[in-house]
Symmetry: C2
Subunit: 267 residues, 2 copies
Protein backbone atom coordinates (compact mmCIF):
# COMPACT_ATOMS: atom_id res chain seq x y z
CA UNK A 1 0.00 0.00 0.00
CA UNK A 2 1.40 3.36 -0.97
CA UNK A 3 -1.31 5.67 0.40
CA UNK A 4 -0.22 8.39 2.81
CA UNK A 5 -1.23 8.92 6.43
CA UNK A 6 -3.13 12.15 7.14
CA UNK A 7 -1.94 14.13 10.15
CA UNK A 8 -3.45 17.37 11.40
CA UNK A 9 -3.09 19.96 14.11
CA UNK A 10 -4.11 23.57 14.64
CA UNK A 11 -0.53 24.57 13.87
CA UNK A 12 3.04 23.41 14.32
CA UNK A 13 2.69 21.28 17.46
CA UNK A 14 1.57 18.18 15.58
CA UNK A 15 4.93 18.16 13.81
CA UNK A 16 6.40 16.48 16.92
CA UNK A 17 4.01 13.61 16.16
CA UNK A 18 4.89 13.74 12.45
CA UNK A 19 8.58 13.55 13.42
CA UNK A 20 7.96 10.43 15.53
CA UNK A 21 6.02 8.82 12.65
CA UNK A 22 8.90 9.60 10.32
CA UNK A 23 11.35 8.06 12.81
CA UNK A 24 9.44 4.91 13.74
CA UNK A 25 7.55 4.29 10.46
CA UNK A 26 10.17 5.38 7.94
CA UNK A 27 8.38 3.72 5.02
CA UNK A 28 5.16 5.65 5.53
CA UNK A 29 4.34 8.77 3.53
CA UNK A 30 2.15 11.43 5.08
CA UNK A 31 0.16 14.58 4.37
CA UNK A 32 0.31 17.09 7.24
CA UNK A 33 -2.27 19.85 7.61
CA UNK A 34 -1.63 22.72 10.04
CA UNK A 35 -4.70 24.91 10.50
CA UNK A 36 -2.62 28.04 11.01
CA UNK A 37 -5.47 30.32 10.00
CA UNK A 38 -7.40 29.27 13.11
CA UNK A 39 -4.52 28.53 15.44
CA UNK A 40 -4.62 28.18 18.41
CA UNK A 41 -7.66 25.93 18.94
CA UNK A 42 -7.22 26.20 22.73
CA UNK A 43 -9.79 28.96 23.23
CA UNK A 44 -12.26 28.07 20.46
CA UNK A 45 -15.70 26.58 21.13
CA UNK A 46 -16.29 22.80 20.89
CA UNK A 47 -18.48 23.21 17.84
CA UNK A 48 -15.93 25.36 16.02
CA UNK A 49 -13.17 22.81 16.68
CA UNK A 50 -15.39 19.96 15.46
CA UNK A 51 -16.23 21.84 12.26
CA UNK A 52 -12.61 22.66 11.48
CA UNK A 53 -11.52 19.08 12.26
CA UNK A 54 -14.23 17.64 10.03
CA UNK A 55 -13.28 19.85 7.12
CA UNK A 56 -9.58 18.99 7.46
CA UNK A 57 -10.38 15.27 7.69
CA UNK A 58 -12.40 15.50 4.46
CA UNK A 59 -9.46 17.21 2.80
CA UNK A 60 -7.04 14.51 3.98
CA UNK A 61 -9.38 11.76 2.76
CA UNK A 62 -9.59 13.55 -0.59
CA UNK A 63 -5.79 13.24 -0.68
CA UNK A 64 -6.22 9.44 -0.58
CA UNK A 65 -5.06 9.13 3.03
CA UNK A 66 -5.45 5.64 4.50
CA UNK A 67 -5.55 6.72 8.15
CA UNK A 68 -5.97 9.97 10.10
CA UNK A 69 -3.86 11.07 13.05
CA UNK A 70 -5.37 13.88 15.12
CA UNK A 71 -2.03 15.30 16.25
CA UNK A 72 -3.60 17.87 18.53
CA UNK A 73 -4.77 17.26 22.08
CA UNK A 74 -7.59 19.81 21.93
CA UNK A 75 -9.03 18.29 18.75
CA UNK A 76 -8.45 14.79 20.16
CA UNK A 77 -10.49 15.76 23.19
CA UNK A 78 -13.29 17.58 21.40
CA UNK A 79 -13.54 16.16 17.87
CA UNK A 80 -12.36 12.51 17.96
CA UNK A 81 -15.74 10.84 18.62
CA UNK A 82 -17.40 13.09 16.06
CA UNK A 83 -14.84 12.21 13.38
CA UNK A 84 -14.99 8.46 14.10
CA UNK A 85 -18.78 8.56 13.77
CA UNK A 86 -18.61 10.49 10.49
CA UNK A 87 -15.84 8.36 8.99
CA UNK A 88 -16.29 4.75 10.13
CA UNK A 89 -14.32 3.32 7.20
CA UNK A 90 -10.93 4.81 7.97
CA UNK A 91 -8.73 4.30 11.05
CA UNK A 92 -8.61 7.49 13.10
CA UNK A 93 -5.97 7.83 15.81
CA UNK A 94 -5.92 10.47 18.50
CA UNK A 95 -2.98 11.47 20.69
CA UNK A 96 -4.72 10.76 23.99
CA UNK A 97 -5.57 7.03 23.91
CA UNK A 98 -2.05 5.64 23.34
CA UNK A 99 -0.80 7.64 26.33
CA UNK A 100 -3.72 6.59 28.51
CA UNK A 101 -3.10 2.92 27.61
CA UNK A 102 0.57 3.25 28.54
CA UNK A 103 0.07 5.14 31.80
CA UNK A 104 -3.25 3.83 33.08
CA UNK A 105 -2.20 0.21 33.49
CA UNK A 106 0.48 0.95 36.10
CA UNK A 107 -1.12 0.32 39.46
CA UNK A 108 0.78 2.64 41.77
CA UNK A 109 0.88 5.59 39.46
CA UNK A 110 0.23 9.12 40.58
CA UNK A 111 -0.26 10.94 37.34
CA UNK A 112 0.30 14.63 36.64
CA UNK A 113 -1.07 16.11 33.43
CA UNK A 114 -0.17 19.45 31.89
CA UNK A 115 -1.98 20.74 28.83
CA UNK A 116 -3.64 23.74 27.20
CA UNK A 117 -6.62 25.26 28.94
CA UNK A 118 -9.11 23.63 26.51
CA UNK A 119 -7.65 20.13 26.91
CA UNK A 120 -7.53 20.53 30.69
CA UNK A 121 -11.11 21.75 30.76
CA UNK A 122 -12.24 18.77 28.66
CA UNK A 123 -10.77 16.55 31.42
CA UNK A 124 -10.19 13.95 28.71
CA UNK A 125 -7.06 12.36 30.21
CA UNK A 126 -8.51 12.03 33.70
CA UNK A 127 -11.79 10.56 32.36
CA UNK A 128 -10.04 8.00 30.17
CA UNK A 129 -7.44 7.11 32.82
CA UNK A 130 -10.13 6.57 35.45
CA UNK A 131 -12.15 4.42 33.09
CA UNK A 132 -9.09 2.16 32.73
CA UNK A 133 -8.03 2.33 36.37
CA UNK A 134 -10.50 3.87 38.82
CA UNK A 135 -7.94 4.02 41.64
CA UNK A 136 -5.49 6.19 39.77
CA UNK A 137 -4.49 9.45 41.47
CA UNK A 138 -4.63 12.22 38.86
CA UNK A 139 -3.60 15.89 39.10
CA UNK A 140 -4.03 18.24 36.17
CA UNK A 141 -3.06 21.83 35.38
CA UNK A 142 -3.49 24.12 32.41
CA UNK A 143 -0.08 25.52 31.47
CA UNK A 144 -0.80 27.73 28.46
CA UNK A 145 2.30 29.90 28.80
CA UNK A 146 4.48 26.85 28.10
CA UNK A 147 3.03 26.69 24.58
CA UNK A 148 4.24 30.18 23.74
CA UNK A 149 7.54 29.62 25.52
CA UNK A 150 8.20 26.68 23.18
CA UNK A 151 6.99 28.49 20.04
CA UNK A 152 9.12 31.54 20.83
CA UNK A 153 12.29 29.54 21.40
CA UNK A 154 12.57 30.11 25.16
CA UNK A 155 13.28 26.43 25.87
CA UNK A 156 16.19 25.98 28.32
CA UNK A 157 16.14 29.56 29.64
CA UNK A 158 15.31 31.33 32.91
CA UNK A 159 11.88 31.93 31.41
CA UNK A 160 11.05 28.25 30.86
CA UNK A 161 12.58 27.37 34.24
CA UNK A 162 10.46 30.03 35.96
CA UNK A 163 7.27 28.91 34.24
CA UNK A 164 7.91 25.20 34.92
CA UNK A 165 8.56 26.00 38.56
CA UNK A 166 5.41 28.15 38.83
CA UNK A 167 3.20 25.56 37.15
CA UNK A 168 4.70 22.32 38.50
CA UNK A 169 6.23 23.34 41.83
CA UNK A 170 2.85 23.13 43.53
CA UNK A 171 1.59 20.72 46.14
CA UNK A 172 -0.65 18.66 43.87
CA UNK A 173 2.30 17.72 41.66
CA UNK A 174 4.77 17.06 44.48
CA UNK A 175 4.35 13.27 44.54
CA UNK A 176 3.54 12.39 40.93
CA UNK A 177 5.34 9.37 39.47
CA UNK A 178 4.31 10.00 35.87
CA UNK A 179 3.87 13.24 33.95
CA UNK A 180 1.77 13.37 30.80
CA UNK A 181 2.63 16.15 28.40
CA UNK A 182 -0.88 16.75 27.10
CA UNK A 183 0.07 19.17 24.36
CA UNK A 184 2.07 18.38 21.25
CA UNK A 185 4.35 21.36 21.93
CA UNK A 186 5.62 20.00 25.21
CA UNK A 187 7.97 17.23 24.01
CA UNK A 188 10.42 20.09 23.44
CA UNK A 189 10.35 20.72 27.22
CA UNK A 190 10.61 17.03 28.14
CA UNK A 191 14.21 17.16 29.37
CA UNK A 192 13.68 20.32 31.41
CA UNK A 193 10.61 18.84 33.06
CA UNK A 194 12.49 15.61 33.76
CA UNK A 195 15.26 17.65 35.39
CA UNK A 196 12.71 19.62 37.40
CA UNK A 197 11.42 16.37 38.91
CA UNK A 198 15.00 15.15 39.41
CA UNK A 199 14.30 11.67 38.06
CA UNK A 200 11.38 11.08 40.48
CA UNK A 201 8.81 11.06 37.69
CA UNK A 202 8.63 9.48 34.25
CA UNK A 203 7.83 12.16 31.68
CA UNK A 204 5.96 10.31 28.96
CA UNK A 205 7.03 10.66 25.32
CA UNK A 206 3.59 10.95 23.68
CA UNK A 207 4.65 11.22 20.02
CA UNK A 208 6.59 7.96 20.27
CA UNK A 209 3.59 6.20 21.84
CA UNK A 210 1.30 7.58 19.15
CA UNK A 211 3.63 6.39 16.38
CA UNK A 212 3.72 2.87 17.84
CA UNK A 213 -0.04 2.81 18.24
CA UNK A 214 -0.46 3.93 14.63
CA UNK A 215 1.87 1.15 13.48
CA UNK A 216 -0.25 -1.46 15.26
CA UNK A 217 -3.45 -0.06 13.77
CA UNK A 218 -2.02 -0.08 10.26
CA UNK A 219 -0.74 -3.61 10.75
CA UNK A 220 -4.14 -4.78 11.98
CA UNK A 221 -5.85 -3.22 8.97
CA UNK A 222 -3.26 -4.54 6.52
CA UNK A 223 -2.39 -0.99 5.58
CA UNK A 224 1.35 -0.85 6.30
CA UNK A 225 3.38 0.59 3.46
CA UNK A 226 5.38 -1.81 1.30
CA UNK A 227 7.44 1.01 -0.15
CA UNK A 228 11.00 1.84 0.83
CA UNK A 229 10.67 5.57 0.19
CA UNK A 230 8.38 8.02 1.89
CA UNK A 231 6.97 11.36 0.69
CA UNK A 232 5.88 14.18 2.93
CA UNK A 233 3.50 17.03 2.15
CA UNK A 234 2.91 19.91 4.51
CA UNK A 235 -0.19 22.05 4.02
CA UNK A 236 -1.25 25.09 6.05
CA UNK A 237 -4.53 26.98 5.85
CA UNK A 238 -2.55 30.23 5.87
CA UNK A 239 1.16 30.66 5.29
CA UNK A 240 2.46 32.37 8.39
CA UNK A 241 5.90 33.45 9.48
CA UNK A 242 5.34 31.63 12.75
CA UNK A 243 4.91 28.28 11.06
CA UNK A 244 7.86 28.72 8.73
CA UNK A 245 10.05 29.86 11.62
CA UNK A 246 9.24 27.11 14.08
CA UNK A 247 8.44 24.16 11.83
CA UNK A 248 12.05 23.01 11.67
CA UNK A 249 12.38 23.12 15.46
CA UNK A 250 9.30 20.89 15.85
CA UNK A 251 9.90 18.52 12.95
CA UNK A 252 13.67 18.31 13.25
CA UNK A 253 14.22 18.84 9.53
CA UNK A 254 13.51 21.40 6.82
CA UNK A 255 10.05 21.31 5.31
CA UNK A 256 8.42 22.84 2.25
CA UNK A 257 5.06 24.48 2.92
CA UNK A 258 2.02 24.49 0.63
CA UNK A 259 -1.01 26.72 1.24
CA UNK A 260 -4.47 25.16 1.02
CA UNK A 261 -7.79 26.93 1.42
CA UNK A 262 -10.64 24.69 2.53
CA UNK A 263 -14.26 25.28 1.66
CA UNK A 264 -16.16 25.86 4.88
CA UNK A 265 -17.17 29.21 6.21
CA UNK A 266 -14.32 30.13 8.46
CA UNK A 267 -11.60 28.73 6.24
CA UNK B 1 -23.89 64.54 21.21
CA UNK B 2 -24.71 61.20 22.82
CA UNK B 3 -23.26 58.85 20.20
CA UNK B 4 -20.71 56.30 21.39
CA UNK B 5 -17.09 55.88 20.35
CA UNK B 6 -16.26 52.61 18.59
CA UNK B 7 -13.13 50.82 19.82
CA UNK B 8 -11.77 47.57 18.45
CA UNK B 9 -8.93 45.12 18.89
CA UNK B 10 -8.26 41.49 18.05
CA UNK B 11 -8.92 40.65 21.69
CA UNK B 12 -8.49 42.01 25.18
CA UNK B 13 -5.45 44.26 24.68
CA UNK B 14 -7.49 47.21 23.46
CA UNK B 15 -9.21 47.32 26.82
CA UNK B 16 -6.16 49.20 28.15
CA UNK B 17 -7.08 51.92 25.63
CA UNK B 18 -10.78 51.66 26.59
CA UNK B 19 -9.75 52.09 30.24
CA UNK B 20 -7.80 55.26 29.44
CA UNK B 21 -10.76 56.64 27.47
CA UNK B 22 -13.03 55.91 30.43
CA UNK B 23 -10.57 57.67 32.74
CA UNK B 24 -9.81 60.76 30.66
CA UNK B 25 -13.14 61.13 28.81
CA UNK B 26 -15.58 60.05 31.51
CA UNK B 27 -18.60 61.49 29.69
CA UNK B 28 -18.03 59.42 26.57
CA UNK B 29 -19.90 56.18 25.94
CA UNK B 30 -18.26 53.49 23.86
CA UNK B 31 -18.86 50.22 22.04
CA UNK B 32 -15.89 47.85 22.27
CA UNK B 33 -15.41 44.99 19.82
CA UNK B 34 -12.85 42.27 20.56
CA UNK B 35 -12.33 39.95 17.60
CA UNK B 36 -11.65 36.95 19.82
CA UNK B 37 -12.59 34.49 17.11
CA UNK B 38 -9.56 35.57 15.08
CA UNK B 39 -7.22 36.57 17.86
CA UNK B 40 -4.30 37.03 17.71
CA UNK B 41 -3.88 39.17 14.57
CA UNK B 42 -0.09 39.08 14.94
CA UNK B 43 0.50 36.25 12.51
CA UNK B 44 -2.34 36.88 10.04
CA UNK B 45 -1.80 38.23 6.53
CA UNK B 46 -2.21 41.94 5.75
CA UNK B 47 -5.28 41.28 3.63
CA UNK B 48 -6.96 39.19 6.31
CA UNK B 49 -6.38 41.88 8.94
CA UNK B 50 -7.76 44.58 6.61
CA UNK B 51 -10.88 42.50 5.91
CA UNK B 52 -11.56 41.84 9.58
CA UNK B 53 -10.93 45.50 10.47
CA UNK B 54 -13.27 46.71 7.72
CA UNK B 55 -16.08 44.41 8.84
CA UNK B 56 -15.70 45.47 12.47
CA UNK B 57 -15.65 49.15 11.49
CA UNK B 58 -18.90 48.68 9.54
CA UNK B 59 -20.45 47.05 12.58
CA UNK B 60 -19.35 49.90 14.86
CA UNK B 61 -20.72 52.49 12.40
CA UNK B 62 -24.01 50.54 12.33
CA UNK B 63 -24.04 51.03 16.12
CA UNK B 64 -24.13 54.79 15.49
CA UNK B 65 -20.51 55.33 16.57
CA UNK B 66 -19.22 58.87 15.99
CA UNK B 67 -15.52 57.95 15.89
CA UNK B 68 -13.44 54.77 15.58
CA UNK B 69 -10.39 53.92 17.68
CA UNK B 70 -8.21 51.12 16.31
CA UNK B 71 -6.99 49.93 19.70
CA UNK B 72 -4.60 47.38 18.22
CA UNK B 73 -1.11 48.10 16.96
CA UNK B 74 -1.18 45.41 14.28
CA UNK B 75 -4.45 46.70 12.81
CA UNK B 76 -3.20 50.30 13.20
CA UNK B 77 -0.14 49.36 11.15
CA UNK B 78 -1.90 47.32 8.47
CA UNK B 79 -5.50 48.57 8.21
CA UNK B 80 -5.55 52.26 9.21
CA UNK B 81 -5.02 53.79 5.75
CA UNK B 82 -7.50 51.36 4.23
CA UNK B 83 -10.19 52.24 6.79
CA UNK B 84 -9.63 56.00 6.44
CA UNK B 85 -10.01 55.71 2.68
CA UNK B 86 -13.21 53.65 2.98
CA UNK B 87 -14.76 55.83 5.68
CA UNK B 88 -13.79 59.47 5.03
CA UNK B 89 -16.76 60.86 6.99
CA UNK B 90 -15.86 59.58 10.44
CA UNK B 91 -12.78 60.34 12.55
CA UNK B 92 -10.58 57.25 12.78
CA UNK B 93 -7.82 57.17 15.38
CA UNK B 94 -5.01 54.66 15.52
CA UNK B 95 -2.74 53.91 18.48
CA UNK B 96 0.50 54.69 16.66
CA UNK B 97 0.23 58.36 15.61
CA UNK B 98 -0.34 59.89 19.09
CA UNK B 99 2.75 58.09 20.39
CA UNK B 100 4.84 59.10 17.38
CA UNK B 101 3.78 62.75 17.84
CA UNK B 102 4.77 62.63 21.52
CA UNK B 103 8.10 60.89 21.06
CA UNK B 104 9.27 62.07 17.65
CA UNK B 105 9.54 65.75 18.52
CA UNK B 106 12.20 65.24 21.19
CA UNK B 107 15.50 65.95 19.50
CA UNK B 108 17.94 63.83 21.49
CA UNK B 109 15.77 60.79 21.76
CA UNK B 110 17.06 57.30 21.28
CA UNK B 111 13.88 55.32 20.93
CA UNK B 112 13.37 51.64 21.67
CA UNK B 113 10.21 49.95 20.42
CA UNK B 114 8.84 46.60 21.50
CA UNK B 115 5.82 45.08 19.79
CA UNK B 116 4.31 41.93 18.30
CA UNK B 117 6.07 40.36 15.36
CA UNK B 118 3.53 41.75 12.84
CA UNK B 119 3.80 45.32 14.14
CA UNK B 120 7.60 45.09 14.22
CA UNK B 121 7.68 43.71 10.69
CA UNK B 122 5.43 46.55 9.47
CA UNK B 123 8.11 48.96 10.78
CA UNK B 124 5.29 51.46 11.28
CA UNK B 125 6.76 53.26 14.31
CA UNK B 126 10.20 53.68 12.77
CA UNK B 127 8.76 54.91 9.46
CA UNK B 128 6.47 57.46 11.12
CA UNK B 129 9.10 58.59 13.62
CA UNK B 130 11.69 59.11 10.87
CA UNK B 131 9.19 61.07 8.79
CA UNK B 132 8.79 63.44 11.74
CA UNK B 133 12.43 63.48 12.75
CA UNK B 134 14.91 61.93 10.32
CA UNK B 135 17.78 62.02 12.84
CA UNK B 136 16.04 59.91 15.43
CA UNK B 137 17.91 56.79 16.56
CA UNK B 138 15.43 53.90 16.59
CA UNK B 139 15.86 50.30 17.79
CA UNK B 140 13.01 47.79 17.52
CA UNK B 141 12.40 44.24 18.68
CA UNK B 142 9.52 41.80 18.40
CA UNK B 143 8.69 40.52 21.88
CA UNK B 144 5.78 38.15 21.31
CA UNK B 145 6.25 36.15 24.50
CA UNK B 146 5.43 39.26 26.55
CA UNK B 147 1.90 39.20 25.15
CA UNK B 148 1.22 35.73 26.53
CA UNK B 149 3.02 36.53 29.78
CA UNK B 150 0.56 39.39 30.35
CA UNK B 151 -2.50 37.38 29.27
CA UNK B 152 -1.54 34.47 31.51
CA UNK B 153 -1.03 36.64 34.57
CA UNK B 154 2.76 36.27 34.83
CA UNK B 155 3.31 40.00 35.35
CA UNK B 156 5.77 40.69 38.20
CA UNK B 157 7.24 37.18 38.31
CA UNK B 158 10.58 35.52 37.51
CA UNK B 159 9.07 34.69 34.13
CA UNK B 160 8.33 38.29 33.15
CA UNK B 161 11.68 39.39 34.59
CA UNK B 162 13.51 36.72 32.56
CA UNK B 163 11.71 37.61 29.35
CA UNK B 164 12.22 41.38 29.80
CA UNK B 165 15.91 40.77 30.44
CA UNK B 166 16.23 38.48 27.39
CA UNK B 167 14.41 40.89 25.09
CA UNK B 168 15.64 44.27 26.41
CA UNK B 169 19.02 43.46 27.95
CA UNK B 170 20.66 43.58 24.54
CA UNK B 171 23.15 46.05 23.12
CA UNK B 172 20.78 47.90 20.81
CA UNK B 173 18.55 48.86 23.75
CA UNK B 174 21.37 49.78 26.14
CA UNK B 175 21.25 53.55 25.55
CA UNK B 176 17.60 54.21 24.75
CA UNK B 177 16.03 57.23 26.42
CA UNK B 178 12.45 56.40 25.46
CA UNK B 179 10.67 53.07 25.21
CA UNK B 180 7.49 52.71 23.15
CA UNK B 181 5.22 49.86 24.19
CA UNK B 182 3.93 49.05 20.73
CA UNK B 183 1.30 46.54 21.85
CA UNK B 184 -1.81 47.30 23.85
CA UNK B 185 -0.96 44.45 26.25
CA UNK B 186 2.26 46.02 27.41
CA UNK B 187 0.97 48.83 29.65
CA UNK B 188 0.55 46.08 32.24
CA UNK B 189 4.36 45.62 32.14
CA UNK B 190 5.11 49.36 32.23
CA UNK B 191 6.41 49.45 35.81
CA UNK B 192 8.56 46.36 35.40
CA UNK B 193 10.11 47.75 32.23
CA UNK B 194 10.70 51.13 33.93
CA UNK B 195 12.44 49.28 36.77
CA UNK B 196 14.51 47.28 34.29
CA UNK B 197 15.85 50.54 32.84
CA UNK B 198 16.35 51.96 36.33
CA UNK B 199 14.82 55.32 35.48
CA UNK B 200 17.19 55.88 32.53
CA UNK B 201 14.34 55.64 30.00
CA UNK B 202 10.85 57.06 29.78
CA UNK B 203 8.39 54.25 29.15
CA UNK B 204 5.58 55.88 27.22
CA UNK B 205 1.98 55.42 28.36
CA UNK B 206 0.31 54.89 24.97
CA UNK B 207 -3.32 54.49 26.09
CA UNK B 208 -3.19 57.87 27.87
CA UNK B 209 -1.75 59.56 24.77
CA UNK B 210 -4.41 57.93 22.58
CA UNK B 211 -7.18 59.12 24.90
CA UNK B 212 -5.89 62.70 24.80
CA UNK B 213 -5.56 62.58 21.02
CA UNK B 214 -9.11 61.28 20.74
CA UNK B 215 -10.36 64.12 22.93
CA UNK B 216 -8.72 66.70 20.65
CA UNK B 217 -10.21 65.07 17.54
CA UNK B 218 -13.69 65.00 19.05
CA UNK B 219 -13.35 68.63 20.13
CA UNK B 220 -12.23 69.67 16.65
CA UNK B 221 -15.19 67.90 15.08
CA UNK B 222 -17.67 69.23 17.65
CA UNK B 223 -18.42 65.68 18.70
CA UNK B 224 -17.64 65.77 22.43
CA UNK B 225 -20.38 64.29 24.58
CA UNK B 226 -22.63 66.69 26.50
CA UNK B 227 -23.92 63.90 28.72
CA UNK B 228 -22.84 63.29 32.30
CA UNK B 229 -23.31 59.54 32.16
CA UNK B 230 -21.53 57.05 29.97
CA UNK B 231 -22.60 53.60 28.73
CA UNK B 232 -20.22 50.85 27.75
CA UNK B 233 -20.93 47.84 25.53
CA UNK B 234 -18.44 45.04 25.05
CA UNK B 235 -18.87 42.72 22.06
CA UNK B 236 -16.73 39.74 21.13
CA UNK B 237 -16.89 37.67 17.94
CA UNK B 238 -16.70 34.54 20.08
CA UNK B 239 -17.20 34.28 23.82
CA UNK B 240 -14.00 32.77 25.13
CA UNK B 241 -12.82 31.91 28.61
CA UNK B 242 -9.63 33.83 27.90
CA UNK B 243 -11.49 37.08 27.34
CA UNK B 244 -13.76 36.67 30.34
CA UNK B 245 -10.78 35.78 32.55
CA UNK B 246 -8.46 38.59 31.56
CA UNK B 247 -10.86 41.41 30.66
CA UNK B 248 -11.03 42.71 34.21
CA UNK B 249 -7.23 42.80 34.47
CA UNK B 250 -6.99 44.89 31.28
CA UNK B 251 -9.98 47.16 31.82
CA UNK B 252 -9.62 47.57 35.56
CA UNK B 253 -13.31 46.90 36.20
CA UNK B 254 -15.91 44.19 35.66
CA UNK B 255 -17.48 44.06 32.22
CA UNK B 256 -20.49 42.30 30.74
CA UNK B 257 -19.80 40.52 27.45
CA UNK B 258 -22.11 40.25 24.46
CA UNK B 259 -21.43 37.91 21.52
CA UNK B 260 -21.78 39.27 17.99
CA UNK B 261 -21.36 37.36 14.76
CA UNK B 262 -20.40 39.50 11.77
CA UNK B 263 -21.28 38.70 8.21
CA UNK B 264 -18.08 38.19 6.29
CA UNK B 265 -16.63 34.85 5.38
CA UNK B 266 -14.27 34.16 8.23
CA UNK B 267 -16.53 35.60 10.93
Amino acid sequence: MNRPIGIFDSGVGGLTVAAAIRKFLPNESFVYFGDTKHSPYGDKSDETIRNYSEEITRFLISQNCKAIVIACNTASALAYNYLVENHPDIPIINVVDPVVAHVGSKINNKVGIIATRATTKSDIYRKKLRRLNPKLHVAAAATPLLVTIVEEGFVNTKVSAGAIEAYLGVKKFSDVTTVILGCTHFPLLQKEIESFFGGRAEVVDSPELVAHHLKLQLQKAGLLSQETEANYHFYVSEKTDAFARTAKMFFGADIKLEEKTLRVNGF
